[in-house]
Symmetry: C2
Subunit: 302 residues, 2 copies
């Protein structure tokens, strides 16, 4: 089993998103697990899973639908993006290794160029160069900036395809990575500097919380600002720790958290960790939840 | 499947508790799901489950072991109790109804008197009289007080057996009830009046939180006091609401929560409800947790 989490540069026109999701779901064996669209980000994240072969087919169909339906020249949104299908990560689930997902990513990347003529960059475990492991390094400059650089700057040229980007679909950033939690916290203010400051202070790359990536973004349609995050190792820094830290730093600006958002799915353990910590609950864990215990002790009871 | 949660009046001598647990586990098909012993309560709670027939056998063996191993005349503990095996509730799980559990309770009660000569009271859904639905009404006066009353006051006589109580094992209060969450909050003070006041204010019977029973108890061995609770309908009043309410009321006395404790097991949904609420997480629920989604979407992935 493999999970795949394509991020598309369309979060406003839900008919388009429906068509993208339908393309993925059209492959027998590929199951949509979740979908979410954000109008300020103008971006949609689809989570699906299945056997490798079905997931690969769906991924190619997703890229095909994206190049037909999305024109980046007309795309505006607060979330950074390089492609119509912007990011295409493969995530190992039960019975699959990271190596399997790297192979799958490479295979998908090759086909996206050969069949659809969209250039491809590889990131995380599928990266071909050390300076392309981090997604934010690959995506720096975004579609508009990289159109030139991909041509003229060898260090920014696609890993497969080119020269340059696709004129309307940009490039697809294909990767293999561990499960991550995409988690956003919205602040009750329109002052973007506050979100940017908090994001900078908490992100790992500037000495903040381990395994946290963070951006400060405006949510104009909602009259808020957002600390938009990827928690790349929730056992090191779980969501409730991030929430407490952002809450504390926002309070120092006199600002409250309006709400938080999970994009896609999260593992059960992150929920259980938060529960134990926030309620000062001793000796709590998976084995204290009746459904978990029944599933393992009495498999026929479920 | 039926769950059974015997409460024994022994929480200090763990060899005795081991023997009680071993008696339950000696029946093929009965599985121990959890056990917990508290030295201040001097009480142990065992959670086990299985098919009705196995659970009934284990329950009788539990009562038999308790009458042999526990003498209430020498028992001191802060938690109210009437019997060596104090409470014996049957709880319906998948495929079993409350009526099934009532029948099981009545059957168990009859055998406990016939085979072990311990009188029995029935409570909750298994109650034979409206004034015995509530456990606290049945147990009022405890072992010491009810030894006389069970003889001389017809309104306090056992439902089965007697006259009076068993000289060392008291009586067994057998019932059928819905799943409940046994949840305790320990306060960083030795002032018992604070725990008693909070318990009185939050319990449903004095106009507090719905579906909450609460007692204020001293935890002498730990130098704390405790608000000891049963949450009889966690969807009405979940643990995190109780935690917030006790925290607020304790803070008014200048007292902090030291820790909270779950006795036995709780349902997954209570954890997910707390997570959503405490992290102001919108549109969160079971369907956002990857294991849940995979189990239902792709049953062969687990």
């Amino acid at each position: 089993m493999v999970e795949c989490v394509p991020n598309f540069s369309e979060g406003r026109n839900l008919e388009t998103v429906d068509a993208l999701v339908a393309a993925i779901a059209s492959v027998p064996g590929s199951r949509i697990l979740h979908r979410t669209s954000d109008p300020d980000h103008n971006r949609s994240v689809v989570t699906f899973a299945g056997e490798s072969e079905a997931v690969l087919k769906s991924a190619i169909l997703a890229a095909d639908a994206a190049v037909r339906l999305i024109d980046l020249n007309r795309h505006r949104g607060v979330h950074p993006r390089l492609g119509a299908l912007d990011v295409l990560p493969f995530v190992p689930l039960a019975g699959t290794s990271m190596d399997d997902c790297v192979a799958l990513a490479r295979h998908a990347g090759a086909r996206i160029w050969e069949e659809l003529h969209i250039p491809v960059y590889f990131y995380e475990a599928a990266a071909l160069r050390p300076d392309r492991v981090r997604l934010e390094d690959v995506r720096r400059g975004q579609f508009e900036g990289l159109r030139q650089a991909a041509f003229f700057d060898e260090s920014r040229a696609p890993d497969i395809g080119g020269p340059g980007l696709h004129p309307t679909a940009g490039a697809v950033i294909v990767g293999a990575r561990k499960f991550l939690i995409a988690y956003n916290i919205n602040l009750q203010t329109t002052d973007l500097e506050i979100a940017k400051t908090i994001a900078r202070d908490i992100r790992e790359s500037s000495g903040g919380l381990p395994a946290v990536k963070a951006l400060g973004l405006p949510l104009q349609l909602r009259g808020l600002v957002q600390v938009s995050m990827n928690l790349t190792d929730f056992e090191q820094t779980p969501p409730h720790v991030v929430y407490a830290e952002v809450s504390r730093r926002a309070a120092a600006f006199g600002v409250e958290i309006e709400a938080s958002e999970l994009i896609g799915l999260m593992p059960r353990k992150a929920v259980e960790m938060a529960f134990a910590e926030l309620m000062k609950l001793r000796q709590f864990g998976s084995a204290r939840i009746i459904e978990n215990v029944l599933e393992s002790a009495l498999p026929d009871s479920a």
